[in-house]
């Protein structure tokens, strides 16, 4: 089976990269291919990168609240282009309440600060295989 390909990036001016890099390393260690888009992405640039890189999953790392607004645009772009790429949002700022709202909007999984490494890997693996 081909390796799971995950695009990891951050949106807008959100620059605190600790979580994004840690998750990228974690997924690589779990045998996945990580395309690290880093900081300063907008929804359109992430969708474009996901298509070009044939990513199975888009992972958004966040340490500011900007994702709350960008996620709608990201999901809309994916729908408009008929792309079925699951979006995972994760970060210490994602509260339980935020997570419920994100999932209701169509985010495949929202992972807050209490998530374990095993859960992150299992979540990505499960979404990539759907």
């Amino acid at each position: 089976m081909a390796a799971v390909r995950v695009l990891i990036g951050m949106l807008g001016m959100d620059q605190h990269e600790v979580g994004a890099l840690a998750v990228a390393r974690l997924l690589r260690d779990a045998g996945m291919e990580v395309i690290y888009a880093g900081r300063f992405n907008l929804p359109a640039s992430l969708v474009k990168a996901a298509v070009e890189e044939a990513a199975h999953v888009i992972g958004i790392s966040c340490h500011s609240w900007e994702y709350l607004y960008y996620v709608d645009e990201l999901l809309e772009l994916l729908r408009a282009q008929d792309l079925n790429i699951p979006v995972v949002v994760g970060g210490s700022v994602v509260t339980a309440d935020d997570a419920r709202k994100l999932v209701a909007k169509g985010v495949a999984a929202a992972l807050g600060p209490t998530v374990t490494r095993e859960d992150i890997v299992a979540t990505i693996r499960r979404l990539a295989s759907v």
Partner: protein, 535 residues
């Protein structure tokens, strides 16, 4: 070696220290009294009121008026200094109507981009008495402060306060300005040179090791990289012909304070000693004020957790005691809601009260450098001094900082630290109560949670505001001032501050001035293009 004891930075420690650990220890050479070379025990001599520090909490939220209200709120609670940070677009030198700014306006700091904004930020503040520490783009902030002060009748020479400088590492850890290395260094040196004559009481050279340590650096890496930047800037200022004693007295270091109490204390003591030796013996400073470096500190935000936010209050208290024992000139306690946001009003008061309780009730400041002479703390201070200096020499042997920055050498250090930090928490080698040990179920984790998770809406009204501001200026004057700034930028020997001052007075914005400077240095006019191509 799973049971080997080490400090947070990996220095092996024994379970007990004894006189043999200080064999041959020479008091006058290694310590001396506070206020005397090499200043290990403190930058200032013991005198009435010694041990007191400036108590401040991080502020800046929404627009300048809201941030000014925060200042007044904190002062009314007994705060003795002010500290303001810009929001993410401002720190990146972008105006609020930049396409990348829209959802980040005023949510993690103040949105501030022009002279009218600074007038509002400083409204009613006694600028010659209150010390305002700025985590804002230095050159532009100094220009605006200088201008507002003159408008209000303050002599710039009487201005106090400080501004952080972060030219070496900003792009690599959370403070990207989208400016090339040599422009960042030039703007820093220009600001310091300008202030050394125009605003001699103002600390225009705050070496900020705090923000880049939040990537997960250890104490040795933190101070080594800090010294690398200080040394680079000092050499640049000397190259321009500035006498060392003209600017060195206004160098201060803003450090982090992690949870390893004695290592953080030893780090601060070692830093004072290293700085003194470097200034006197290497750079030839003769004014004792150039040898004695002021240390200010923020307690580590990275040490705080989203889980059980109330535990962060305890962490802040322990760190504050450590800093009080180390002897610092100012403290800011990172607040219990740090994992989620810049401080809420409730968290502000808890952070300030933490400082006030340590200062007034604990008696830890009655005696200067109370740990001086401790077998352990002195041995650790010596070891940190050795390790920090060894890392400085190792990095300097690799070539000049600009090349190291461009080649990603520094970024690799930060990236390694980020991964190491995450790994330590994940595998439990770094115990974090509430995270990897003594966790509670999510439904039990409710204390202070609602406060910590409170959100601020982006101040999107700033977009229309800045556009209207631009429209009502004297457009010719703005254009001419920006042209003059570009002309100055093209002369490498000129100081950028006079044209930045003139452009600020003419009404140019932070984003406009930054854009023409980026262009003058061969970058794209539109930072959005720079950003988009980086994506």
């Amino acid at each position: 070696m799973a049971n080997e004891r080490t400090t947070q930075s990996g220095i092996p420690v024994k379970p007990l220290y004894a006189p043999a650990d200080l064999d041959g220890f020479d008091y006058s050479q290694r310590l001396n009294d506070p206020g005397a070379y090499p200043f290990t025990r403190g930058a200032r001599p013991v005198r009435p009121g010694h041990g007191a520090w400036i108590e401040r909490e991080l502020s800046g939220e929404g627009d300048p008026a809201r941030s000014n209200a925060q200042f007044k709120y904190l002062l009314s609670k007994g705060q003795t200094g002010l500290d303001v940070i810009g929001d993410a677009p401002t720190v990146a030198c972008l105006d609020p109507d930049h396409p990348f700014a829209v959802h980040a306006i005023g949510t993690q700091g103040v949105s501030i981009c022009c002279l009218d904004d600074y007038r509002e930020l400083y409204r009613d503040l006694p600028l010659d008495r209150v010390t305002l520490s700025h985590s804002l783009p230095a050159a532009f902030t100094v220009a605006a402060l200088h201008t507002v002060a003159r408008e209000r009748g303050y002599a710039p020479a009487a201005l106090r306060g400080s501004v952080i400088q972060a030219p070496y590492y900003a792009e690599d850890c959370s403070y990207a300005t989208f400016m090339p290395f040599r422009l960042r260094v030039r703007m820093t040196a220009d600001t310091i040179a300008f202030c050394s004559t125009e605003m001699p009481k103002f600390h225009s050279f705050i070496e900020d090791t705090y923000f880049f340590s939040e990537t997960g650096l250890d104490s040795v890496e933190e101070m080594a990289l800090g010294f690398i930047e200080i040394r680079g800037l000092v050499r640049e200022l000397l190259r321009r012909g500035l006498p060392i004693d003209q600017f060195a007295p206004r160098i201060a270091i803003l450090v982090t304070c992690r949870m390893d109490v004695f290592e953080e204390i030893a780090k601060i003591r070692a830093t004072r000693r290293l700085f003194a030796r470097m200034m006197r013996e290497e750079f030839g400073a003769t004014d004792p004020r150039s040898w004695a470096v002021n240390i200010t500190a923020h307690t580590s935000g990275l040490s705080l957790t989203a889980q059980q936010p109330v535990n962060n209050v305890v962490r802040g208290a322990i760190q504050t005691v450590a800093l009080a024992c180390a002897g610092v000139q100012a403290i800011e306690v990172s607040t219990f809601d740090e994992a989620f946001r810049t401080p809420s009003p409730e968290a502000h008061v808890v952070g300030l009260r933490t400082q006030q309780i340590v200062a007034l009730e604990s008696n830890v400041t009655q005696v200067a450098d109370p740990l001086g002479g401790s077998y352990y703390v002195e041995a650790l201070t010596d070891e940190l001094e050795r390790r920090i200096w060894s890392m400085v020499q190792d990095i300097e042997a690799r070539g000049d900082a600009a090349a190291l920055s461009d080649s990603g050498f520094f970024r690799a250090i930060f990236q390694n630290a980020m991964e190491r930090h995450a790994r330590g928490i994940a595998d439990g080698t770094t115990p974090k109560v509430g995270v990897n040990v003594h966790q509670v179920a999510e439904e039990e984790d409710t204390l202070l949670r609602a406060v910590a998770e409170g959100k601020i809406e982006p101040f999107r009204e700033r977009i229309d505001w800045v556009r209207a501001y631009r429209a009502r200026r004297d457009q010719e004057a703005v254009r001419a001032s920006l042209d003059a700034l570009v002309a100055c930028a093209q002369d490498a020997d000129a100081n950028l501050m006079p044209p930045i001052l003139a452009a600020t007075e003419a009404g140019a914005t932070l984003g406009e001035m930054s854009a023409v400077l980026r262009r003058a240095y061969g970058m794209t006019t539109d930072p959005a293009g720079a950003l988009a191509s980086a994506a």
